[in-house]
């Protein structure tokens, strides 16, 4: 069904998304004992990029040009299906989460082939790793969804989140905690944060997501950066929806709780990034398989 009221929230999230990135950076800065960049830095970057011209490699074709549009549009569309915690999403229907992940999928598809379009071996490398990790994350995500569906007997995100009540936490908190952990891990992976990937490094060989977009510049790169922030928002929102059981019917209260939770998640990510080192690439699959194992445990818990 459609909740017109939530449309505002959709635009709101489009607006706020980049803040999360800044928050992460700020957290890291604090840990490193620096003052760090201003909270709106990401917005400045975006605007700057939008102002610039652009450079295309002569190897590339229209695929390269269309890819950023598609991935950004994809993730924007998904935000129409993501509720703010207990506040229902603009669109909600049975199995909407399937659409969410497949929309991310098409974005990924085009980012990857765009990387191959440049014919650069580094970007090829990045592409290869990207598909490798996504091949792991997708089944795990769906496994966690199985758990949630079993727990709440609901099959759409909004209802799922509604189904997560304090009572549910008391009855099957263990499963929920595990699910939260898994989703956090996946958040780190999908948004190429430490310990999976280091967005700040400048050694192409070590990067995954960043290396794929080496050849972008100007507005295209702005789209990509913005898309990345939206993706971060999306996963944080999923996490938030799971860990916040409280539900007052007051939109303002719920909204603010949700936002606070989002910030908390961003801080958490920052903390992790400051405390952990980047994993060796070969270890990443191991970590993901571990997450898969946890997911299996969750499912087992729900079958009882």
């Amino acid at each position: 069904m459609i909740n017109d009221s939530s449309i505002i929230l959709f635009f709101l999230s489009l607006l706020c998304a980049p803040i999360l990135l800044s928050v992460i950076n700020r957290t890291k800065a604090i840990f490193a004992g620096r003052t760090g960049q201003p909270i709106l830095q990401v917005y400045f970057d975006l605007i700057k990029l939008m102002r610039k011209g652009t450079v295309y490699s002569q190897t590339t074709t229209w695929i390269f040009r269309i890819a950023p549009l598609i991935s950004l549009a994809g993730v924007m569309t998904t935000l129409l299906l993501i509720p703010w915690g207990k506040i229902p999403a603009p669109f909600t229907f049975t199995g909407d989460f399937i659409l969410v992940f497949y929309l991310l999928g098409i974005g990924r598809f085009f980012t990857v082939i765009a990387a191959l379009d440049t014919g650069s071996s580094f970007e090829g490398m990045g592409a290869s790793r990207e598909v490798l990790f996504s091949a792991f994350t997708e089944p795990i995500l769906f496994a966690t969804l199985i758990t949630l569906v079993r727990l709440t007997d609901e099959a759409s995100l909004t209802n799922l989140f509604h189904g997560i009540t304090p009572f549910l936490w008391t009855t099957s908190g263990a499963a929920l905690i595990l699910v939260a952990v898994i989703i956090f891990v996946i958040l780190l992976t999908e948004n190429s944060r430490i310990p999976v990937d280091d967005p700040n490094t400048h050694l192409e060989l070590t990067m995954i997501h960043e290396v794929m977009v080496l050849d972008y510049s100007g507005p295209d790169f702005a789209f990509i950066l913005y898309g990345a922030s939206l993706k971060l928002w999306l996963f944080s929102a999923l996490l938030a929806g799971i860990i916040v059981p409280i539900h007052t019917d007051n939109v303002l209260v719920d909204g603010s709780i949700f936002l606070l939770c989002m910030l908390a998640i961003a801080v958490a990510v920052g903390v992790v990034e400051s405390l952990m080192a980047r994993l060796r690439l070969v270890l990443v699959p191991r970590m993901l398989v571990g997450a898969g194992a946890i997911a299996a445990v969750c499912i087992y818990l729900t079958l009882k």
Binding site: M50, G53, T54, V55, Y56, S57, Q58, T59, T61, I63, P68, L69, I70, L72, A73, G74, T77, L80, F91, F93, T94, G95, I98, L99, Y102, G105, I106, F109, L116, D117, T118, G119, S120, S121, G124, M125, A127, S128, R129, V131, L132, S134, A135, T137, E138, P139, L141, F142, A143, L145, I146, V149, R150, A155, L214, D215, P219, D220, P285, L303
Partner: protein, 664 residues
């Protein structure tokens, strides 16, 4: 019905004519392909009419003078639904083939080719509408033989001969199992007419599971489920591209049809059957896509993807069965609906992809992915159309592949939602498998598309590739169009499924049926709306970028090369390097034969790496089995040693034994 028969007649006569005038290749080609195209057009209309005809099925039943045979054909909704992809692809592939085959080296065989092609078309139709075991088996085997001769068209190639033999053997063994299936079930029904086969109406028949297994093996070998899939990766690369499109797109679906038809006879299913189907489906799906990922021959890769998609269809069927077993109507509709729709979809995009592979071969002369690259620039149309197919087969919105996978997913989730602990297990397996398949399929097709069409040419083949003629592009355009249309008109495709679903979900009350179909239509509608929004957003962003770039510099330069002096096309990521990390992880199930020559010394002169991935099941199971039985049989060769004395000894011994044994 009459229209259908007329279509068949056109196909048959056209094929015969093509054979008779094979001395004049030009006419033979024209008549053969022409009749195929017109016949299928007519047939397509007939099929659609039949699908929505007010008496749900039309029947022709004539006496037939062969033992146990009656000439009994019927076109109910299920048959009609399967007729649609058959005729659709037959026509388009024929249109494509007419141009594709038109080369001097083919002139001698073009007549016979079209004869077999049309025979294949006719026999596939007969398989779908036959209602008597003898008629069915005859059509079934004619289908196999016709396709066999199409596969072995270029018989001078060693690989083709091997492929032909493997295909022939596996299909024959499958048919043998079908013999048992039909005979046993026929003995139950004391008739070989399908309408008598409905054994033991509502209660569970003691032998039902046996029949189920037999049907699964017999039809599964045609559909290409693991471990009976070995003929697909051999046959599809061997066949001419439009034939591979037809076989992989439609012919293997007759196996699916057979299983569905068999299920309608076997009475109420058990959760065990559902689990079986889902386990087989998951294994076929995941293994199929993994093996595909390891291939460097484009058509082999596509062939393994057929295995994968058959797996997905099985998952759908499994969900449907799960619904029947626990009478959960919504599952029946979502599961069977998804399976049927995916059957249609797979026919469309796999046809598209094989035709695309055909024009790659036509344009570059090679199917080895490693020798291609940068084709997007030289053959833009093929590239774009192949891209559509690739996105569709990965099941990504907004194209058709997503719709069917969505239905299966939704079905599985609903199952998890409504069923009790143990009977959810099939659903869980299905979901995880589907998710895995999804991720891996993306990996596989980004590799295929990216390496073939993007980057720089890796060989001279690719460097002077040329775009195909319109006659070859038009069919692909039509198929690509269908991918988009079905994707964007998802709720309406449901009306296409409804009649067929109605015949399958017998134990659902008509009122519920309507209610449920609407209930399914609802999410699909939203999927479509959001897909549309997505498209709109893309357009907006495009406009936005245009606006922001207006009046600014848009430079072009070399790809960022980290300051390497002379980057060459050979330095690009290759298919094998792209797939390598996944292959490393999957090394348990997918064997990778690597051949590496390391660069040696201070001034390394040469180094090379090549890898190929033989089929695990083939090498691990079938070959040893054959070898063993051959060894066993050859043990008995001493019997015929040439010595007449020995021969007479046999007679004497036989006589003695019989006398002493029988007269005591």
């Amino acid at each position: 019905m009459n229209m259908l028969l007329v279509a068949l007649a056109i196909l048959g006569i056209g094929g015969l004519a093509a054979l008779l005038i094979h001395r004049n290749p030009k006419f033979a080609n024209g008549i053969g392909s022409g009749s195929a195209v017109f016949g299928s057009l007519l047939g397509l209309m007939a099929a659609i009419l039949l699908l929505f005809s007010s008496p749900p099925s039309e029947t022709i039943r004539l006496p037939w003078s062969v033992p146990y045979g009656t000439f009994y054909i019927e076109a109910d909704a299920l048959s009609a639904f399967f007729l649609i992809p058959i005729f659709l692809l037959t026509g388009l592939a024929a249109l494509y083939g007419a141009r594709y085959l038109w080369e001097p080296k083919n002139e001698k065989r073009i007549g016979s080719h079209w004869a077999f092609y049309n025979t294949l078309a006719v026999s596939m139709v007969m398989v779908v509408i036959a209602r008597n075991a003898i008629l069915f088996l005859i059509s079934w085997e004619v289908m196999a033989l016709a396709s066999f001769f199409l596969v072995t068209m270029e018989d001078e190639r060693e690989s083709v001969q091997r492929a032909g033999w493997i295909y022939l053997v596996s299909t024959h063994l499958g048919t043998m199992v079908l013999f048992f299936f039909f005979i046993l079930i026929g003995n139950q029904a004391s008739s070989l007419d399908f309408d008598r086969f409905v054994i033991a109406g509502s209660q569970i028949h003691p032998q039902a599971s046996l029949f189920f297994v037999l049907a699964l093996i017999g039809f599964g070998s045609k559909a290409g489920i693991l471990p009976l899939h070995i003929w697909l990766p051999e046959a599809h690369p061997a066949a001419p591209s439009h034939v591979s499109a037809l076989m992989s797109g439609v012919m293997i679906k007759t196996g699916i049809y057979g299983i569905i038809r068999a299920l309608t006879w076997l009475g109420p299913p058990t959760t065990g059957w559902a689990l079986t189907l889902i386990v087989i489906g998951s294994i076929s799906g995941v293994m199929g896509v993994l093996l595909a990922l390891a291939q460097h021959d484009l058509k082999r890769l596509l062939a393994y993807h057929s295995v994968e998609n058959i797996g997905i269809i099985f998952l759908g069927l499994g969900i449907g069965l799960l619904g029947q077993a626990n009478d959960l109507p919504v599952l029946i509709l979502l599961g069977y609906g998804g399976a049927l729709l995916h059957t249609l979809n797979h026919a469309i995009f796999k046809g598209l992809l094989f035709l695309g592979a055909g024009s790659v071969l036509h344009g570059t002369g090679t199917l080895d992915i490693e020798h291609t690259g940068g084709l997007m620039k030289r053959m833009p149309w093929t590239g774009a159309l192949f891209l559509v197919g690739a996105v569709a087969i990965c099941g990504l919105p907004p194209l058709n592949g997503f719709v069917s996978e969505f239905m299966i997913f939704a079905g599985a989730f609903q199952g998890i939602q409504y069923l009790n602990a143990l009977s959810t297990i099939p659903g869980i397996i299905a979901i995880v498998a589907l998710a895995m398949i999804g991720g891996l399929a993306v990996a596989c097709f980004t590799k295929a598309f990216g390496i073939i069409f993007l980057g720089k040419p890796r060989s001279s083949h690719a460097a002077e590739a040329h775009e195909s003629k319109p006659a070859m592009l038009i069919p692909m355009i039509v198929l690509a169009g269908l991918c988009v249309v079905i994707g964007l008109a998802a709720p309406y495709t449901l009306t296409l499924l409804k009649p067929a679903l109605n015949t399958l979900s017998t134990n659902v009350a008509p009122t519920d049926f309507v209610k449920l179909t609407n209930q399914i239509q609802f999410p699909l509608t939203y999927v479509v709306v959001l897909s549309a929004l997505f498209a709109v957003l893309v357009a907006l962003l495009f406009w936005l970028r245009k606006w922001s770039l207006s009046g600014k510099s848009i430079a072009t330069t070399v790809t960022w090369d980290c300051g390497y002096a002379k980057p060459t096309a050979r330095m690009q990521y290759t298919a094998s390097s792209f797939a390598q990390p996944l292959m490393k992880l999957a090394s348990g199930v997918v064997r990778l034969r690597e051949h590496l020559v390391k660069p040696e010394g201070f001034f390394p002169s040469e180094g090379s790496y090549s890898s190929k991935s033989p089929d695990v099941v083939h090498e691990g199971f079938w070959t040893p089995t054959l070898k063993a039985s051959e060894w066993f049989l050859l043990r008995f060769r001493w019997i015929q040693m040439g010595s007449i004395h020995l021969y007479i000894l046999y007679i004497a011994i036989t006589l003695f034994v019989l006398l002493i044994w029988k007269l005591q």
